[in-house]
């Protein structure tokens, strides 16, 4: 069975991600790489790498999907980024992505398969984070286990609180 790499920030992992993972898991041994794992506690990156690892773990367990979850720290250097991912992750055969930068950077090194289909608006981390900030319901957009974990750690309140930037600086 070939190995495929999926990379995302997963802030948080949501139903759109899950749909892609579910399909991919049928054909590939999966590496799920967590991007920007050292970023947290901001409006765009509310959850730590460890919290995101836990969310993915629980979401996969609930569906009986196995995958290698690997945090891949930012390197801020696109010219070497593909080499960086390949040096840090175990060998893989194909990259699954719908992100132009990921596709562009991996193309010289790996087979890349574009996965553009699930881009429906509501299944986006940005929309989920917006709803958390506004106090709107967001739970339906993520797997149950993820919604529960986020509440358990107070994640929705955290992002809402952090968004209240005071101008006193």
């Amino acid at each position: 069975m070939e190995r495929a790499l999926i990379i995302g920030r997963f802030q948080p992992i949501h139903n759109g991600h899950m749909e892609m993972i579910r399909r991919a898991a049928k054909r590939y041994e999966l590496i799920i790489a967590i991007g920007s794992p050292l970023k947290s506690h901001t409006v765009d990156n509310p959850f730590t790498g460890g919290e995101r690892y836990e969310m993915i773990l629980r979401a996969l367990r609930d569906e009986g999907i196995e995958a290698h979850i690997i945090p891949v720290p930012d390197i801020e250097y696109n010219g070497v980024w593909a080499s960086h991912v390949m040096s840090l992750c175990p060998p893989f055969d194909v990259v699954l992505s719908n992100n132009p930068l990921t596709i562009e950077l991996f193309s010289p090194y790996k087979r890349v398969m574009e996965t553009s289909m699930f881009s429906r608006k509501e299944y986006s981390g940005k929309e989920i984070r917006r709803r958390m900030i506004e106090g709107e319901p967001w739970e339906e957009l993520v797997p149950n286990a993820v919604a529960e974990y986020i509440k358990e750690i107070g994640g929705d309140e955290r992002i809402s609180y952090l968004s209240r930037t005071d101008e006193y600086v």
Copy 2:
């Protein structure tokens, strides 16, 4: 006497900061931590860490307030930021802040006291920098010693000049 930490960028230190420091100095031995001390010469961060140290020093001397002034370099990693500040500064008991991120990050480790009262619009670094750029009077918003020092080093002209970004790039 307990030790309290106040952290800010102080670009520049202004009357709002001073009011908070004045009150805090009555109850605590103060650590004034200068954030982003390696940033300078931009519109948001016009003054060097050393210049800001000097401004704070002069402002405190004028009022007879003692404090430990400590530059705390950015670490760009919120998940360890509180540990970073605690590793770099001498031991302290409480954090005084009105910044949600600071409060969020320190809460697991230290007593945090919210100081939200002085957030009046005019007492903000952003407003002072805006006035410097526009050539409007800004001196009344900062302690006298600070206004003098900024003029002495040509700081108001510097930020005004730097704001003239030329599109030729």
Copy 3:
């Protein structure tokens, strides 16, 4: 079941590591953290993070042991290192280690259990690397799957070749 963290560089994973992991796996859900995963191609750190991930994966599979394998990049800042590991890894309850620095740094935050027993000389990464360089047999010191993988990628020849530093610099 509690979660335990084991951290090492695993250059390469060897029988001493395996013995510790085997015992720990009976009592804990394991996180195996790979230290210095961005270091490779030196005499002390011959294998990439990805190669070490693969070795650990194969060694565990052969014995039916499950674990979360997580590369933890160096941060070169001991004062925040424990926070760094805790931010990057999913939550865990206990740290298993026989390394004084690891024990010292985690003690303020986590239950630490010292695992000093398997320190027999021959089961050390250093000894294995020395044998690879000298062309002595090293295969018996690591799990079979690891020995095979190292040969597959030419890892023993790599370290031997890299050790031939030429003084022409």
Copy 4:
């Protein structure tokens, strides 16, 4: 003959740059420093440092201009930036620039000559990148050799493709 430093990001080098270089080359031995050489594959910084080196090389060769082309990596620390450039480049006598930050930072150390004249709108990297993204003709704004090279490496398609950010994150 005195040595002059010109520093820019050259994303890409264009006719405005060339006009400045042509004039300067008559009076000075030139150092052309490439800023942000480790940035690439973004809308603002589409080309790698090496690609920009090659473009400058070809543009200069076509006109018979000699210069030292030197990539100068970002240091993200304005307070030491001038020292950084002076430490990395061979000695020089004067800085030619129309960028306020460059002028401000070098003034304490070097003779700086302001070169404000060629700032015509169309001769800007930003405009050229915008045209590439929009599919409008951009070739006339850069030297022929540069236009050819960019097409050879598919650079205009690259930036256009990268600009199609998908919100699925």
Copy 5:
């Protein structure tokens, strides 16, 4: 009164340092810069920047000496190091040092005064750390307040413990 900079790692501050500081304090307003403040928990750098700040503070208080204590993070770039210190510290007039590298790097920018006299062997951080590791008496080599503080935080035991590197890696 002129301002003088003294820079050291102060691992820990000892009687040799104090003698130099005592003399200097008579002629100068002192800046005591703590080098490598982000290093700790190693045999060469056992104490955190914050612990060293506290030690210096207590040692100075006991003698009624005032000084600005400023942690100066490493920059690992000698070519810009003097600029770095000058950017981070408030303005100063002279550097007091007996370290060839410090003298060499500051000479182009500042008046440097060599202070070679107190180099007696026993007054060295290295000797003190060696004694702590070996369990020999070290207290007489540092100010009383420093000896007390080190014991209070278990600093001598820490370095001794950390020195017991286990070869199991």
Copy 6:
């Protein structure tokens, strides 16, 4: 004509380097990459990147050899190092090296030609630096223009002075 990359630290460039460059220049358009260009003022890396650029420039000019001289900053990450060099330098066809690490890291990406012949002991940077420190004659080991330049900037005295580390720390 093919392009060849030669990479070294050139601390300083010496007759061994020159012999290799002379031969290579007959067959290739040369890129001479300066490694560790941000290191200076130590016994192993006495000269700044800029000073080394100047030395190489003068040595080449004296012999009428043309080459692209490019400082390549360290990245401390062997797994991506070849990509880093290729991203920063203009395209090249072959790597000339006698350094096992360079050969190992470039082999997956580029044709590598081993240049082992000039490793005579006296033509080594280490020997030259040793002689400078000991005050022995070193000038004969480097091109005339380089010897002159080093004396002009006091480079031999600098390294000798820096080697006098005082134990007072």
